[in-house]
């Protein structure tokens, strides 16, 4: 007799029922988490052994869409279940689990389901935590933090060593070279020509330093103090070393996970964009307009709330081609870059990071077009500039008071809190 049947893919196993909801056969997963995951990812090896016994049925229904697709390719008459049937399975899942002999009673079924949920969720968490883009986000963030650390310790080191040898401060700009000199020479008397040239200081400058060390205005330094400064210098050298490693690391990881985004944006800006988006997958589903202002949320929401002009670029501003462009071209270039980045991210995610050099080519063409077409400031730009300049002048506090008279100490017109710096209008 020809019958219908339904294949239920449940958390704990696969069950095949007839129309009267009686069990025909069932298979309990040995490892539910692995098997369930495999089925949801389109791997049907668990079900293959049933295929021959399924051929005798007329219509087959299943609650797994992917399974329907796969088995239909094998020539079975299989359909996706009707919605009421699907709801029935969720609603009476415990009964079905018992019916398929996966659980002995309801509380056993609940416990198994809970155990499954914890294991399955944990595996999901584990798999996602392994993704390289999450690591590149951590890398780029620690790179930024390292920069801050190097700056802070570096300036302290300069300041402190400056008590002993103030003249070197403006002769050596590079913080790492400065640290190396302290590390190797210690007291200023020990700074010699060879040492400096070995560190890559050019000869003329090296001579100036040695010269300065002989008639320095700095005071003597105790060994104790010098030791601590040396430790600081060590710190600077170590962190600079780590920074180098990180830069290379970000570069190579970006090359594997997002080569197209990297091509368009450079590794560090690309990594920052991914960091802001949350993951490369999230970036891939973002519209270009969002990518364009990623990192300028504050300005965007201000624009939405007050009707001020919206930001032209967020993190994209760090792209050399954008921040080196004249102001009136930046918005246009940012828009073009963002549009290509949106495509590049999608290629990186959905086409397994296959290189598509034409993206960069067309982008460069477009940028050239913008640079030629808008060589001169656009009328709109000039108008906007004029308006914001006027607004600035009106809102400057000095103009609201009568002209200054004397303004001596304690006078009504004295400036309070020191000289007011002209606040730079910063559009991010």
């Amino acid at each position: 007799m020809v019958q219908n049947c339904s294949i239920l893919v449940l958390e704990l196993g696969i069950g095949i029922l007839n129309d009267n909801k009686e069990l025909i056969l069932s298979k309990r997963f040995d490892d539910p988490v692995i098997s369930y995951r495999a089925i949801k990812n389109g791997d049907y090896s668990e079900i293959l052994e049933f295929i021959d016994s399924l051929r005798s049925f007329k219509n087959i229904f299943s609650n797994d869409e992917g399974l329907v697709f796969q088995l239909r390719n094998l020539g079975l008459d299989i359909y996706f279940m009707k919605e009421e049937h699907l709801k029935d399975i969720i609603e009476n899942k415990l009964r079905y689990l018992i019916l398929c002999k996966f659980s002995s009673n309801e509380s056993d079924a609940i416990q198994s389901l809970r155990k499954f949920a914890i294991d399955f969720s944990s595996i999901n968490v584990k798999n996602i935590s392994q993704k390289l883009d999450l690591h590149v986000i951590q890398s780029i963030n620690s790179l930024d933090e390292l920069d801050k650390i190097i700056n802070v310790i570096g300036s302290r080191m300069r300041e402190w060593y400056g008590l002993h040898f103030p003249e070197m401060d403006h002769l050596i700009q590079n913080i790492s070279t400065y640290a190396q000199i302290i590390r190797i020479a210690g007291k200023r008397e020990n700074i010699v020509l060879d040492l400096l040239t070995n560190l890559g200081v050019e000869e003329r400058r090296a001579e100036m330093i040695v010269d300065a060390s002989k008639r320095s205005k700095g005071g003597d330094i105790t060994d104790e103090n010098l030791l601590i400064i040396k430790k600081l210098a060590d710190e600077v050298i170590n962190q600079t070393e780590l920074r180098k490693i990180l830069t290379i690391h970000v570069d190579s990881t970006m090359e594997t996970i997002a080569p197209n985004v990297k091509d368009l944006l450079t590794a560090s800006v690309g990594a920052r964009i991914i960091a802001k988006a949350g993951s490369i997958n999230k970036l891939a589903i973002m519209p270009a307009s969002t990518i364009q202002i990623l990192g300028a949320e504050k300005a965007l929401f201000r624009a939405l709330k007050t009707g001020a002009r919206p930001p032209k670029h967020g993190i994209l501003f760090q792209h050399p081609i954008i921040h080196s462009a004249p102001k009136w071209q930046r918005g246009k270039i940012a828009r073009a870059v963002a549009a290509k980045v949106a495509i590049a991210a999608r290629v990186d995610v959905y086409r397994n990071a296959e290189k598509v050099p034409i993206l960069l080519e067309t982008l460069n063409n477009r940028i050239m077009e913008i640079q030629q077409k808008y060589k001169e400031p656009t009328p709109k730009y000039i108008q906007n500039e004029r308006q914001s300049r006027d607004r600035d002048r009106d809102s400057r506090p000095d103009h609201r008071y009568p002209p200054r008279r004397g303004g001596g100490f304690g006078s009504k017109y004295a400036r309070k809190g020191g000289k007011k710096k002209n606040k730079r209008r910063f559009r991010d």
């Binding site: 969720i90 609603e91 009476n92 499954f116 949920a117 969720s121 999901n124 968490v125 939405l304």
Partner: protein
């Protein structure tokens, strides 16, 4: 579920057979729930012993449900043995208190899409409390939830998405029993930053009415949470 079962007012205590209490600590009235896992503090909250029972203080600034109870939620639609679907479980602060209230015979399905906080949900809360089923999935795809079964008595939704109301309604259709309760936290800033928060809450309430919900109470969560509201409604016709 009749309203009377849970009715309380801010001045009276809850009915004694609930696992939730007002406790006065240092002259301040605090909400507290009976600790399901004695000795375990989930997020650094204070543990208070009363006779033999250990209670966990419930901070209204940390949990919007506690905030809304403090603000006078008419009725707390939870009792021992309730089944709850919780969307936006996050690290499980509120989930842990709900798990306390429903007790070992109850069940909390905790849905969270973010892996980062999901990890903490599993580690700190779900693996220690036998009535929590963690579901790391996107609340937009209720079809892909695993380990969920039957219908729930309460659906609590606290997700920061622009279409949070639609997501909640979709989940109610699939998993909430007829006449079941939904508590929907409205994050007005996620829906529209430019609009007046009050207006946003009204609009979302109207949308719920259009979809067969009966609104019982609308609260704002000031001062516990800025620009947040909570709608207490029941699912009347499918």
């Amino acid at each position: 579920m009749s309203e009377k079962t849970f009715a309380y007012s801010n001045s009276n205590d809850f009915s004694p057979d609930l696992f939730i209490k007002w406790i006065t600590v240092d002259g301040e009235r605090n909400l507290a729930t009976l600790n399901l896992v004695p000795g375990d503090s989930v997020y650094g909250e204070k543990l208070v012993k009363i006779d033999k029972d250990e209670y966990r203080l419930w901070d209204p600034f940390r949990s919007k449900l506690a905030g809304s109870i403090k603000k006078g939620l008419k009725n707390i639609p939870l009792k021992i043995g309730s089944k709850v679907l919780y969307l936006g479980a996050s690290t499980g602060t509120t989930v842990s208190h709900i798990s306390d209230i429903v007790g070992n015979n109850g069940l909390v399905f905790a849905v969270e899409s973010s892996v980062r906080v999901g990890r903490e949900l599993i580690e700190n809360v779900a693996s220690k409390r036998s009535n929590i089923v963690p579901i790391i999935e996107d609340a937009r795809k209720p079809n892909s939830y695993f380990s969920i079964f039957g219908r729930v008595n309460l659906l609590y939704c606290d997700i920061a998405q622009q279409d949070q109301t639609d997501i909640a309604i979709e989940n109610c259709r699939m998993f909430l029993e007829d006449g079941g309760t939904m508590l929907l936290v409205i994050k007005t800033r996620s829906i529209d930053v430019t609009k007046d928060p009050k207006k946003v809450i009204e609009e979302e309430a109207q949308r719920l009415k259009d979809n067969g919900f009966k609104i019982h109470q609308i609260l704002t969560l000031e001062p516990f949470d800025k620009d947040h509201g909570l709608i207490y409604c029941t699912f009347e016709n499918r």
